[in-house]
Symmetry: C2
Subunit: 311 residues, 2 copies
């Protein structure tokens, strides 16, 4: 009979899972068991701590609703979501040419909506805001630096109080979000108000963790972009306010240096009177076998599917 | 500005958690982040797989109720609960004498109840069973091999159909569970029927995982023992039927070789006419500062606390 102790248990578990038919599930679960067990051995996890963790994870699951995904939030504050994004970025680059300088991705976040108002280039996305305006403009382009006409840009951000419209209006109205299409040269340009930094939801178990860790729980101000075009991979990213006080300590680790920008006077802006950010987004072509940019990782659909799991 | 990529994200997350005041929480979370990130990097986890995991964990949390702890079950089938038990056994032995040959622990499981009937030594715990009987007998003793009088043994097991009373009667009646106290020489002896192997609950997300892994989901037949006495550490263990077909493939990895026994003819049994198992349980003395055997890891209380987390 097999001797199960604190060392042999790991191989015993992996062997019992070795009958898994799906090779990827088999690989993932074996690696997960190895790393989780290594973790428990390293910290010499006690039964009290184990039961605390069981209770915590149960609370996280029970905090989830059709409007809130606390497990995504947990993944975010552990840097796990950002890591999965970074691994995906790396995978996309593999085997592509050096000119495929696609834009860095960033977290989709929980405030994306599919049904944002379709506006005309130059419009303001801030329907209810009366703060000083800023402008975004630039091009959506391919690896060769050519503009992509009629590319779809979905943009969304907080108002000047650090709230998304879904938090203010509960889905009844929209604000500070819109869908644009690039012009014949791949250009986009629109107005908005400066977004604000804001706290992640801290009234649940993840908030308890954040507080115990003495973290501020804040995200630096940013505007989200979800950009797609036929024949290209969908890009989910965000542009961050470079001078935000939380720019270096984003509690969900979404900031990349190349995504930090600051609105400034700009004579070449379509809105020379407004502080403007110029940013050119680079899409990578979908690979053979990928029928559209949405094939593979479609974060929007994925978040929707995660919400559907909630009963 | 910090560059966050698939390598640097880990240190960034650990640094942001470095303000944690509780040193143990700080240590545990840093190790967890390191090992979880190592896992994701090793398998190059994709966004699709990540969202699948988010959905799975959410379902596990939402399957928990006051009567069901699906996260404990998940921990069990990953070998994680057994590992935490083994680490606890090892910790208890550290710094104790070589004579502290305490009995191996095993999983408490979800079928423990505090209010089992108090029976007299020699009684049968199987109120509703009519299968051939077996007997358990032996001593509860200390590290010196001396019997511990008036030690409390709580025992529980399945009926011959592989069901616990809580599954049959929903808490309205009890069967195949009892509380005994050892006699003046530390002896215990009682009758029961042979327990049966059984499947863990497979109608939830953990069952889906087990099925995808082509595991049988069975536990070998066993009788649970929770043994306590003033001045000693509480012992949670179980005795397994050595000839059970699942003895080497327990789906929750609870079996230790030293806990596998087989009822057999035994002229020295208090019930020489019955197939009997003799087993002497060794308790370890509670350490200075521990006011009772219940101090420290009290698995029964812990499982109760985990159930209370459910809202």
């Amino acid at each position: 009979m097999r001797v199960i102790d604190e060392k042999t248990i790991t191989q015993a578990a992996i062997e019992q899972m070795s009958t898994t038919e799906n090779p990827r599930l088999k690989q993932i679960m074996a690696a997960l068991v190895q790393h989780l067990h290594d973790f428990a051995r390293e910290v010499d996890l006690t039964p009290e701590e184990w039961i605390y963790a069981i209770g915590f994870l149960t609370q996280v699951g029970q905090t989830c609703s059709a409007y809130r995904q606390e497990f995504v939030l947990l993944s975010d504050v552990l840097g796990f979501s950002s890591l999965v994004n970074a691994l995906n970025d790396k995978r996309i680059k593999e085997g592509r040419g050096p000119k495929d300088q696609d834009t860095k991705s960033s977290l989709l976040g929980p405030f994306y909506r599919e049904d944002s108002p379709k506006l005309q280039l130059g419009d303001s996305i801030a329907a209810h805001e009366h703060q000083p305006e800023i402008a975004y403009y630039g091009r959506v382009q391919n690896a060769a630096g050519e503009g992509i006409p009629n590319a779809c840009l979905q943009v969304w951000q907080t108002n000047e109080d650090g709230k998304y419209d879904t938090q203010v209006y509960g889905g009844e109205d929209t604000d500070a979000r819109a869908t644009f299409y690039t012009d014949s040269e791949g250009r986009y340009y629109f107005r908005t108000v400066r977004p604000s930094s804001y706290s992640i939801p801290t009234d649940g178990p993840v908030g308890d963790l954040i507080h115990a860790q003495k973290r501020h729980g804040m995200r630096p101000a940013h505007t989200h972009f979800l950009i797609s075009a036929p024949g290209y991979r969908e890009l989910v990213t965000a542009l961050y306010m470079a001078t935000d006080q939380y720019i270096d300590t984003d509690t969900v680790f979404g900031v990349s240096a190349s995504l930090a920008t600051e609105p400034a006077g700009d004579a070449t802006s379509p809105f020379p009177e407004l502080p403007s950010v110029r940013y050119d987004f680079a899409l990578v072509a979908a690979r053979a076998g990928e029928t559209s940019g949405r094939v593979g990782a479609d974060p929007a659909q994925l978040v929707k599917r995660a919400a559907e799991v909630v009963r």
